[in-house]
C-alpha cells in the first residue's frame, strides 16, 4: 500500500512532507517511463543553443560575449516547452482532481510535482550547460558561475512556470498563451543569471547575483506552490 492509499484510507496522517515525497516519487517514475519525452527537452535546449553561432557567425569574441545570454534564453524556452508536462496529463485523466480531494495538502503535492519536473527537466539542462558553454569559449570561472546560476535559477523557472501551467489548464489557447503569461515573469531570473557571468568577466565575484537568485528561489519555493494550488483549484471548479 502506498502512503497515498494509506492516507486515503485514513490509516496515516496525511503530512505535508509525505505528500511531497509521494508526489516526487510518482512523477519521477512516470517521467522515467517516457524517457524519450525527457530527451526531447534536453535536445531542444542543445539545438537552440547551437543555432546561435550559425545565426550570428563564428567569431570567438562575439560568441564569448553572447554565450551566457544565449544559454539562459535557451534554458527559459526549454523550461517553457516542458511546463505543460507538470499538470497536463494529470488534469486530462482526472488524477489532479483526486489529488485535490486527497487528505494531503494540495500545495505539498504540487511542490512534489514541481520538484520532479525540475529533477527531470531542469537538472539535466544544468548538467549539460558547461559543455555548451565551452562551445561558446567561456572560461573555467565563468562556467562555474554559469552552472551555479542555472542550478539556482532553473528551479525558479519550474516554480513560476507551474503557476502559469495551472492557470492555463484546459484552455484552447494553450502554449502561446503560457509564453505570454510566464516569459515576462522570467525576466529577473534571466537578468541575474546572465549577469552573474558578466560580473565574473568584469572582475567581480558574481556572488551578488547568485545571492539574489538564491533569495528568489526561497521566495518562489514558499509562494509558488500556494499560488499554483489556488490556480489548480480554480481550474478544477
Amino acid at each position: 500500500m502506498t502512503p497515498f492509499d494509506a492516507a486515503i484510507a485514513g490509516e496515516t496522517s496525511a503530512g505535508a512532507w509525505s505528500g511531497v515525497g509521494w508526489a516526487v516519487a510518482r512523477d519521477l517514475r512516470l517521467a522515467l517511463r517516457s524517457k524519450a519525452e525527457l530527451g526531447v527537452q534536453l535536445l531542444f535546449y542543445v539545438i537552440v543553443v547551437s543555432l546561435f553561432p550559425l545565426g550570428v557567425g563564428p567569431e570567438p569574441a562575439l560568441l564569448r560575449a553572447i554565450g551566457p545570454g544565449v544559454l539562459w534564453v535557451a534554458a527559459l524556452l526549454a523550461s517553457l516547452l516542458s511546463l505543460s508536462r507538470i499538470f497536463g496529463s494529470d488534469f486530462g485523466d482526472g488524477a489532479l482532481e483526486q489529488m485535490a480531494l486527497s487528505p494531503y495538502p494540495l500545495p505539498a503535492l504540487i511542490s512534489g510535482k514541481i520538484a520532479a519536473h525540475w529533477l527531470t527537466g531542469g537538472l539535466p539542462l544544468v548538467v549539460i550547460s558547461p559543455l555548451l558553454g565551452m562551445q561558446f569559449g567561456l572560461s573555467g570561472g565563468e562556467l562555474t558561475v554559469l552552472s551555479a546560476g542555472l542550478l539556482l535559477g532553473t528551479p525558479i523557472l519550474s516554480l513560476l512556470g507551474a503557476i502559469g501551467a495551472a492557470l492555463t489548464l484546459g484552455l484552447r489557447a494553450g502554449g502561446g498563451l503560457l509564453a505570454l503569461l510566464i516569459l515576462p515573469l522570467y525576466v529577473p531570473v534571466l537578468i541575474f543569471g546572465a549577469g552573474a557571468v558578466d560580473a565574473v568577466r568584469g572582475g567581480q565575484s558574481g556572488g551578488a547575483q547568485l545571492s539574489l537568485l538564491a533569495a528568489g528561489l526561497l521566495v518562489a519555493i514558499v509562494g509558488a506552490p500556494l499560488a499554483s494550488a489556488t490556480a489548480v483549484r480554480i481550474a478544477l471548479d
Binding site: I163, L180, L181, L185, I191, T230, A231
Partner: protein, 251 residues
C-alpha cells in the same frame, strides 16, 4: 454593523451600476477641463527648455501616462485581491475594466518616450531601466487580458486572472530593480533623466495637472467600461431586463 453594510452596498453590481452611470460624466468633464488647462500650461505658458528645446514638451503627455500606467496596475491588483478575498463579482469587473486603459497608457508612455528619445538621446530605444520595465508592464497587461479572453466561464476568468495579476504585482518591483541593476552593470546610461536640470515650477504644475487629467480620464473610461461589463454579465438578472425594457419603451 451599519458601517459594514454601507461599505458593501456598492459591491453589488445592481446598486453600483447607477452610481457609475452618475459619476462617469463628472470624471469625464473634469478630465477634459484639466487636460485643457494642462495643455495650455504645458504648451503656451511653460518656457522653452534651455537644453532640450521644444522637444521636452512631450513630458506633459509622457510622464502622466507613465505614472497612470503603473498606478492602474496597482489599482487592478488591489481589485483582484478584493475579488479573490471576498469573492465579489464587482471587484473582478473593475479589474477587467481597468486593464485596457492601463495597457493604453503604457503604450502611450512607451510611444511618447521613443519620440522624446530621438531628438534628445539620438535614439528611439535605449534599453533604459524605466523603458524596459515599462515594456514588460505592457506584456503583463497583455498577458492578463489574454488569459481573461481565453477562459469562457467568467467566474473562472475572474479568479484565474486575479491570481495572475497578483503574481505580476509581486514581480513588478523585482523586475524594475533587476532591470535597473542590469542596466548599471552593462553600461551607464548615456543621458540620465535624474541629472536633468531641476524643472521650472510651471513645468511641474503642468505635469501634475496633466497627471490628474489622465487619472480622471482613466476613472471615467473605467466606469463606462464597467457599466458595459455589468450589463453583459448580469443580462440574465431581473434588473437588467427592466432596464432594457425601459430603454426599449423610451424609443
Amino acid at each position: 454593523m451599519t458601517s459594514s453594510i454601507n461599505w458593501f452596498r456598492f459591491a453589488s453590481p445592481a446598486s453600483f451600476f447607477p452610481l457609475a452611470q452618475r459619476l462617469a460624466p463628472w470624471f469625464a468633464v473634469s478630465a477634459a477641463l484639466l487636460a485643457i488647462v494642462g495643455i495650455y500650461l504645458g504648451f503656451f505658458v511653460a518656457p522653452t527648455d534651455a537644453q532640450q528645446g521644444e522637444a521636452y514638451r512631450i513630458i506633459f503627455i509622457h510622464v502622466p501616462a507613465a505614472w497612470v500606467s503603473m498606478f492602474i496596475y496597482i489599482v487592478m491588483a488591489f481589485w483582484c485581491a478584493m475579488s479573490l478575498t471576498f469573492n465579489t463579482r464587482l471587484a473582478a469587473m473593475m479589474a477587467q475594466a481597468l486593464a485596457p486603459t492601463g495597457a493604453l497608457f503604457t503604450f502611450i508612455a512607451l510611444w511618447t518616450g521613443a519620440l522624446w528619445g530621438k531628438p534628445t538621446w539620438g535614439t528611439y530605444w535605449a534599453w533604459d531601466a524605466r523603458m524596459t520595465s515599462e515594456l514588460i508592464l505592457l506584456f503583463l497587461y497583455f498577458g492578463y487580458m489574454a488569459l481573461r479572453n481565453a477562459i469562457d466561464d467568467p467566474r473562472r476568468a475572474d479568479r484565474a486572472s486575479a491570481v495572475l495579476a497578483l503574481v505580476g504585482a509581486i514581480n513588478v518591483p523585482i523586475i524594475y530593480f533587476s532591470v535597473k541593476w542590469w542596466n548599471t552593470l552593462h553600461q551607464g546610461a548615456s543621458v540620465s533623466l535624474t541629472s536633468a536640470p531641476t524643472m521650472a515650477r510651471i513645468m511641474v504644475a503642468g505635469m501634475l495637472v496633466m497627471a490628474f487629467a489622465a487619472w480622471f480620464y482613466a476613472i471615467a473610461v473605467t466606469l463606462l467600461r464597467v457599466q458595459a461589463i455589468i450589463l453583459e454579465r448580469e443580462r440574465a438578472t431581473g434588473w437588467v431586463g427592466e432596464l432594457a425594457g425601459a430603454a426599449r419603451g423610451a424609443k
